[in-house]
Symmetry: C2
Subunit: 556 residues, 2 copies
């Protein structure tokens, strides 16, 4: 190859680092607003200053490049500042999932070994008995919205407290020259809650975060305005900033210079009020949060006026989608996971969509959407052979994209398994239609293997959920001597249907089997009526716990 394409000596090579996401906002959005509930209202120009100040505070701690800095906070402007100042200073941001059980929270901290902890006072009880002597944490930055002082909280470890966040910023210089460096530098790490075993750490480079932001803006931007992202939108997260970085949206919103609203701790009344008063127009959440919000709105007699909402984490059901639409929410599905940063697929809306019935429209919003640009997706059978996209054949969804975690942190074996065969294994069972629409039918680990056949627990859940008495349902596989595994249905009944007969519910599954909608061996024999189904920290059905509680099984 010729060498005539040599860059000029002073040509700027432009690494894709997080600081570059600020370029457009610095030029065009200095006066745009950022709001933290009723506690703070500032402009982007203040954000830029505060990022520089936080970088100076961190610099004063004499850390090494690549050191981990953990943040335990609700969704605040401080967290947004950390998203930028920490990686832009060449440290690694650890967003701590504070919804895990306290011992798991400490596990993730002991595993990632942060040198600094930015700690919201509300989580002090969770870590105050922590054995700091044997811990990596050398410095604690206290963050507080409730007038709580850190005095005396940490006993003999009090000396580790550097100071209170706002006071530290007040005293810091507002000048900081963020260096250029290799875009493949790791920017952030966080832990998957996982279905089994300890949480696993995923990690993302600056390059990956920038490419995810660009793709997210493009993929949502090219949706029609009723559903798509547009300049003028007001963004508020309702998936926490500690969870897959709020789907990367704080980066995308800041890149575009949108008005941003951070709701703090998730309380339905606060969120509903912010949506109304701050004119929030785009958000994302899991179905549980949507349900809470709808209930609150109904109680207050309010509507949503076209709020755009992407649902992920769990399946959006037709019933919930219909309710949300009629409340004025443009609800649709995004698919992804911690390992995928997370955006992989999105419900597609087009300006040339044909007329659809409400039924068809709702159906589309509830499917898993189509892969976004740059994503390569295949459906693999058990031997790693690609299946055809006929909307019928199901297998594991495997992926390539420029922003997938390249392994698990300090867990090379799990990383190797994740990438076996050169594609990232989602462990989700899916089919793909000829137009690219994905349908997730199950989690690989939730598939029930009965008599050599696979039973989709999600399919059976869907059927059982059609019974008018059923409020919530989960189907798990429990060990069976004869069949290997058999499905068990755990049911929450509606308050006014507590006296329904199990046989009545079972009948709907049998009818579905008769009609060929599910296999005959998919009809559960075992049913548990419970008050509530156990959920994971992110609001998903915790099938691991269900197997423990309902079947005494701690392993699949």
């Amino acid at each position: 190859m010729t060498n005539h394409y040599t860059p000029a000596p002073q040509a700027y090579g432009f690494d894709l680092t997080i600081k570059q996401l600020l370029n457009r906002s610095k030029l065009t959005a200095q006066d745009q607003q950022i709001v933290y509930a009723d506690k703070k209202r500032m402009t982007y120009s203040e954000l830029f200053v505060r990022i520089a100040k936080l970088a100076n505070v961190l610099e004063s701690l004499n850390l090494q490049k690549g050191d981990v800095i953990a943040v335990m906070d609700w969704d605040t402007h401080r967290f947004l500042e950390s998203y930028f100042a920490i990686p832009m200073s060449q440290y690694v941001l650890q967003t701590v999932n504070i919804r895990l059980s306290p011992d798991k929270v400490l596990y993730t901290i002991n595993h990632a070994k942060p040198k600094v902890l930015l700690l919201n006072s509300e989580f002090a009880p969770m870590v105050k008995d922590y054995q700091f002597e044997n811990s990596s944490i050398e410095h604690i930055i206290w963050m507080d919205d409730n007038g709580m002082s850190s005095d005396g909280v940490f006993g003999s470890n009090q000396a580790r407290v550097v100071g209170e966040y706002e006071a530290l910023l007040d005293n810091a210089s507002d000048q900081y020259e963020f260096a250029d460096f290799d875009e493949n530098t790791i920017a952030a790490t966080f832990y998957t809650s996982g279905t089994t075993g300890n949480p696993k750490g995923v990690f993302f480079s600056h390059r990956q975060i920038v490419l995810h932001a660009l793709t997210e803006a493009a993929s949502l931007g090219v949706l029609p305005q009723k559903q798509g992202l547009v300049l003028g939108d007001v963004y508020m997260p309702m998936t926490p900033m500690f969870h897959v970085m709020a789907w990367g949206f704080p980066y995308t919103a800041t890149m575009l210079g949108l008005k941003q609203v951070y709701p703090g701790r998730y309380a339905p009344d606060v969120m509903l009020n912010l949506i109304e008063t701050e004119k929030v127009s785009i958000t994302h959440c899991v179905p549980t949060i949507l349900q809470m919000l709808l209930k609150q709105a109904e109680a207050e007699g309010k509507g949503f006026n076209g709020l755009k909402m992407i649902i992920g984490g769990s399946r959006l059901t037709k019933g919930l989608a219909t309710t949300a639409l009629s409340a004025g929410i443009e609800v649709y599905t995004g698919y992804g996971m911690s390992e995928t940063a997370p955006l992989i697929s999105l419900t597609e809306f087009r300006s040339d969509d044909p007329e659809m019935t409400l039924e068809e429209d709702v159906m589309r919003r509830c499917l898993t959407g189509k892969p976004v640009i740059m994503v390569e997706a295949e459906i693999w059978d058990g031997n790693g052979e690609a299946l055809s996209h006929d909307g019928k054949q199901t297998g594991e969804l495997v992926l390539r994209a420029p922003w997938l975690t390249q392994s698990y942190f300090k867990n090379a074996d799990a990383g190797a398994e994740l990438w076996e065969g050169g594609y990232m294994h989602t462990q989700d069972i899916a089919y793909m239609m000829a137009d690219g629409t994905l349908g997730i039918t199950d989690r690989l680990k939730d598939v029930i293997k009965s008599g050599g056949e696979w039973i989709s627990s999600l399919e059976i859940e869907t059927i059982l959920s059609l019974h008018p008495a059923v409020a919530d349902v989960a189907v798990i596989g429990v060990r069976d001597e004869k069949w290997g595994e058999r499905p068990l249905a755990a049911l929450v009944l509606k308050p006014d249907c507590q006296d329904v007969a199990i046989e009545d519910i079972k009948a709907i599954a049998e009818k579905a089997a008769e009609k060929g909608m599910i296999p005959k061996y998919g009809v559960p024999e075992q049913y548990k009526i419970v008050d509530e189904l156990p959920k994971t920290s992110v609001g998903k059905h915790d099938k691991k716990k269900m197997r423990e509680i309902y079947a005494g099984q701690t392993q699949i």
Copy 2:
């Protein structure tokens, strides 16, 4: 830094190569259409097959990786196929600017030294006398829509003709495994027409082209639907594919799986007809093409029904914008140049725009817009000091972005100058407002230096264009013993105003000077009435030629 972030052995690193732009279309757009005027209609699935076939044809020529392959064609589906097959096979695509004079066309071929020439039969006269013996071209692929054979065209060089494009594809295998390789591999080169001297070659890597496509999709996607890019749009270029790769749009449109329409040679009636029959909804062009199209539509009594059109290359004037809007064209401005791949700034529309008068609306569409995401822009004075963004201070616009040419091909001195001080010099004189809106006031080389002061030729042109008798105007600087340079105005008068007095036109400039709109020394003393102003190959005023013709100056 810790090494716990090691990628898994089989993790896919995902270089940003052009083949990845096809991922989404392969999954979601197999049945989408691509149209070449009335000559070809095919689906994306055919496109994918034809890209593989073209790669096999090229492979049979035993080239080396990095070899240049030149294309001389109108805007056709073949050109689109070349955009992918050539760089995806690790060759360098040279898009030959066929609007240059024949000697300049041959200059660019002699300079880039392609091994293969894909030649539309209509350009055969331009190259048939070319001294192939001393040339780099070893193979010619004949492309033809008019039933013209290559027999006997090339005299003793006939043996270099490999065959006719369609026949070669017919006989090629449809299987080709495109390899992964370094994203920094050069993908494409083309030549700027330039204001002085020989054309200069710019070059772009796979990575740069992919990042440009992502950013273009995001930047246009987040505009409101009336003006922005949306799934369901139908794209047709009206800036040629040889010129800055049709602004990168063929890549962006293919990445998104949009219906695409290629108009061949630009003829207003053909383009107007395609817009109507194929329902073209988004395009881009220079003002000259827009004028042609409006004239044609007026003659045929047709409108444009909300066609989105980005104008670049030359300034969009208020008069033209107003006419276009009233004809149903959502016209607005994009700014860029060959060196910038080209997207740098774009008129911003927002969903929360305040009510505007038509005057304000038109004004905004005619300014140079705001820098798009990832772009860093500064206004520098003559000493490389950044000026403030007050909408008043003018200086040279300098840039950083992930897709700027890193030098000029085989011209290291010009490349070094381009990147002096670590920013890319546009040679455009601009101001920036506090909200990031750019206003280009002049080309650095077109600024008139009179008595130690700078005179903006564009400002004077704007004033003179307000005179009702003036159809077109250009102001150039001509040497003057006393002042160094003085402005000369070249004027085209409207057909029914041929008898207007020069003094009458000069009066409007004097009035503007009185009111402080232009400096007193900005009023030209010299006027030339001409039938037509010389234009460059891309339809811009050719001021270099004007200085030669009107002032006998061959150098500034």
